[in-house]
């Protein structure tokens, strides 16, 4: 039983059966009340039938709580079927004698990069699996070096995992699984906690794994763009397989996916909205290239010249202008004046986290802050409400210097609300309502006033009233996030800063939170600073973008101006929205189109414009 390598295991029916076969799989969690008595069952999986072909890439999509992670844990024999069965490479997961073979053959990469690395040194972590399998020392080293080279992390083999970026940590985790020589690798939202650069690294690695090593990949994700590489997609909903098919088939049905809390890739969606306007492109367009080809085909080459000849020069706003500058009243603004900030000042490890930042945030603005991990966004944001004080330079709020001894910092904290990343991790009270009262009470409000503020905030975030008095830990992910945002909102901030408020949510959850923020801006007049990794979200919602790199603000302007400089953004590890690239591509193919479009809506109008010149 110790022999986990799977050598000499007879593969029965492996040509007929898929590598993973789930038949009528049912799994129930026992739901317990506060005393730990069983209250009932929650059916997490309800008759799942999935067959996965060896050597393929499979994507499993589904909203939060649809059962996809529960299913993933069945493939690795971490959970066992309540009813029905799961066979991995012909072995029944319920049979104890198969346990270690299955865990070796079906490796698993989890969501949180920190919580799955066991070793204190990269190479030791990769060796953890082989050590457990009882592989001789010499061979462990061979496997470790081989796997680290395969994921491009060999140079980091002696490093501490704590010093790596998220994407690098996930690659180490992948190497750790590969060192066990699996036949199949299950990745449970491996990119959910990464920035776009890390996400790309991991997806590239995943594809290489499948391509070069012929390992079957099962990818669970919330990012539709990642699923287009799959050979087959399974869409899960309420513990069942709601849809299955090739990416093209699945993404053809935009409405159905939206109902399942999901989304489609940007190009697919643009084609879909164009079809609604009567300009019918085939369904299930996945990539930019496909979109362009269909456009060319559809217009019968009418616009296609293959060159830029005859295409008028786009009206390129020649110089950067900050549209709101004159409107901002300094007495109503938050102003940073030549702010510098150092970490570990005076030591050899001194890092200049903020480098001469000057910035004015006016009343009523909706600002997007973008930059890769480590560009200084978090440090900047913490200066805005006095959590960090400038090393040099000044921060003024409504004309007052916040470093001034007479300045009341508590007032600043309530005037400038800061919602951290994964804010639900800071909930601590017995009930949601009490937790939301925490902020206003700290600012010295009476119990009654605090409760009133809490009610108002909870209503504003749209949390159903039945949850007000339940424990914050019982809520679903999206609801927890709402409750946490309410906790900051209850302090009645004039400026609300949100650090990646949509991280880890499914597409519907993401849209709901963004719409909520938009509402707060429009209806309550709250100034918003949105820190985000998603260029699409930024393009859709904000009016002004700040781009940070290496502790500096590199760009500051409206969406169109910033994304116009997409080449510079790429050098910083950022990008423009997909539609911007698509429009550039179309233009390069001879379509006389404005390439500086940033949203699907604008793109639709622009394409309609050139297609129906009469209107």
């Amino acid at each position: 039983m110790r022999d986990c390598h799977g050598i000499g295991v007879i593969r029965r029916n492996s040509t007929v059966m898929g590598i993973v076969e789930a038949k009528d799989l049912v799994f129930e969690y026992v739901k317990r009340d506060e005393e730990g008595n069983a209250e009932g069952f929650v059916r997490a999986l309800d008759g799942v039938n999935i067959s996965i072909k060896k050597g393929s890439i499979i994507a499993i999509l589904g909203g939060n709580g649809s059962g996809k992670s529960t299913f993933a844990k069945h493939i690795n024999a971490i959970l066992y079927p309540g009813e029905g069965s799961v066979f991995v490479d012909g072995k029944d997961t319920r049979k104890p004698e198969n346990l270690w073979d299955i865990r070796q053959e079906a490796g698993m990469v989890f969501q949180n990069p920190d919580n799955q690395i066991i070793g204190n040194v990269v190479e030791e972590d990769v060796g953890f699996g082989p050590e457990n399998m009882g592989i001789p020392t010499g061979e462990i080293w061979e496997r470790v070096n081989e796997s680290l080279k395969a994921v491009g992390m060999y140079a980091y083999r002696k490093h501490s995992p704590n010093k790596l970026s998220g994407g690098q940590k996930q690659r180490v985790a992948i190497a750790g699984v590969m060192a066990m020589h699996p036949k199949c690798i299950i990745m449970d939202e491996p990119t959910a906690m990464l920035d776009p650069k890390g996400r790309k690294e991991v997806i590239r690695q995943m594809r290489a794994l499948n391509d070069v090593e012929r390992i079957t990949v099962i990818l669970i994700t919330h990012y539709m763009e990642e699923a287009i590489y799959a050979d087959k997609i399974f869409v899960m909903d309420e513990g069942r397989v709601a849809m299955q098919g090739t990416p093209r088939e699945i993404f053809s049905d935009v409405e159905a996916l939206k109902k399942l809390r999901l989304d489609v890739p940007q190009c697919t969606y643009l084609a879909h909205v164009l079809s609604k306007e009567g300009f019918t492109l085939p369904k299930g367009i996945l990539t930019r290239e496909e979109f362009i080809q269909e456009m060319v085909k559809h217009t019968g080459g009418r616009f296609y010249s293959g060159s830029l000849e005859g295409v008028s020069e786009p009206k390129k706003p020649s110089h950067y202008t900050d549209p709101g500058r004159s409107k901002r009243d300094p007495r109503e603004s938050l102003i940073l004046d030549h702010v510098n900030y150092f970490y570990e000042k005076g030591t050899s490890g001194e890092i200049k986290a903020l480098n001469d930042i000057s910035l004015q945030i006016g009343k009523g603005e909706f600002i997007g802050l973008i930059g890769h991990t480590g560009s200084g966004k978090s440090t900047l944001v913490q200066h805005l409400n006095g959590l960090l004080m400038p090393g040099s330079g000044h921060v003024y709020f409504k004309g007052q210097d916040i470093s001034d001894k007479k300045f009341n910092k508590k007032d600043l904290r309530s005037s400038v609300g800061l919602v951290f990343q994964y804010p639900e991790h800071q909930l601590f009270e017995e009930t949601v309502f009490k937790d939301v009262c925490f902020g206003p009470k700290n600012t010295g409000k009476s119990q009654k006033d605090a409760e009133l503020a809490a009610f108002e905030a909870l209503r504003a975030v749209g949390l159903p009233e039945e949850y007000y008095y339940s424990s914050p830990f019982e809520l679903s992910g999206g609801q927890k996030r709402r409750a946490a945002i309410a906790g900051v909102l209850a302090m009645k901030p004039e400026i609300l800063i949100l650090d990646e408020p949509t991280a880890g949510l499914d597409p519907r959850g993401r849209d709901e939170i963004l719409d909520l923020i938009k509402d707060l801006h429009e209806k309550q007049g709250i100034t918003i600073v949105l820190v985000s990794h998603s260029m699409e979200d930024v393009a859709n919602y904000v009016g002004r973008i700040l781009v940070m790199d290496k502790g500096r603000i590199i760009m500051d302007g409206d969406t169109r101006h910033v994304f116009m400089r997409y080449k510079e953004l790429e050098e910083m590890g950022l990008s423009a929205p997909t539609v911007t690239y698509l429009m550039h591509d179309l233009r390069d193919r001879g379509f006389d189109i404005d390439p500086y479009v940033t949203t699907i809506d604008e793109a639709k109008r622009e394409i309609m414009r050139i297609l129906s010149p009469g209107i």
Partner: protein, 272 residues
Amino acid sequence: MLRDITLGQYYDTRSVIHELDPRTKITGTFVFIISLFIFRSAAAVILATLFLVSAVLLSKVPFSYMLRGMKSIFFILILTVVLNMFLTPGITVFSFWIFKITDEGLKIAAFTAIRLIYLIIGSSLMTLTTTPNNLTDGLESLMSPLKIFKVPVHEVAMMMSIALRFIPILMEETDKIMKAQEARGADFDSGNVIERAKALVPILVPLFVSAFRRANDLALAMEARCYRGGEGRTKMKPLVYKKRDLAAYAVLFFYLALVIASGILLSRYGLA
């Protein structure tokens, strides 16, 4: 507070001492500390000084690093010296009001101070020249005979190594939670003791929840990678004694022999 934990203080100079097997270093430190406390002659102190100084020199670690550990015991050091000086009976050499200092007191105080300082330097030398992982491995290997008495040696070592990995992560997390609650107007710096203790609840609850979540995730990740305890596990970096370890053990044995010999000789001729 957590930041002062000395375990992560590894100072890499790739010296001979660094290259020694962790078991050799643990045994050596242990023997050295025992020798400090059993033998109380001037000759033993001289020998210990020689032993320690040569080890420190061989390690190439700057001496100031050794002294860093001293800060934490500074108060205890002063206290023991003062108590020993004033409270030991003997011939008075200096008196002031009700206090008197005896010759015996001075001698004992000096010996105690030296012992404590050597103890700290000796153990700092071990942690400065051994990575935490090696230390855990060494302890696991040295304690493995205890398995006969059902002591879960492997599990304890695994726990230590996981703790080492997660201490920095949890520290960062604490910092983040504190900031998040501060952003909601929490105040950790003012108020009386009770108020301050109360102010910790909004930090501790999320911190524990997070620690449990991480523990749960980690357990899953370990199981998924075929972890099933120490039974049948092989080692990627097994501990192997090398020639220099033999030499080190010889030196250690020689030192111990000298200390014992000096003790016996001195007491036989009544010189102690």
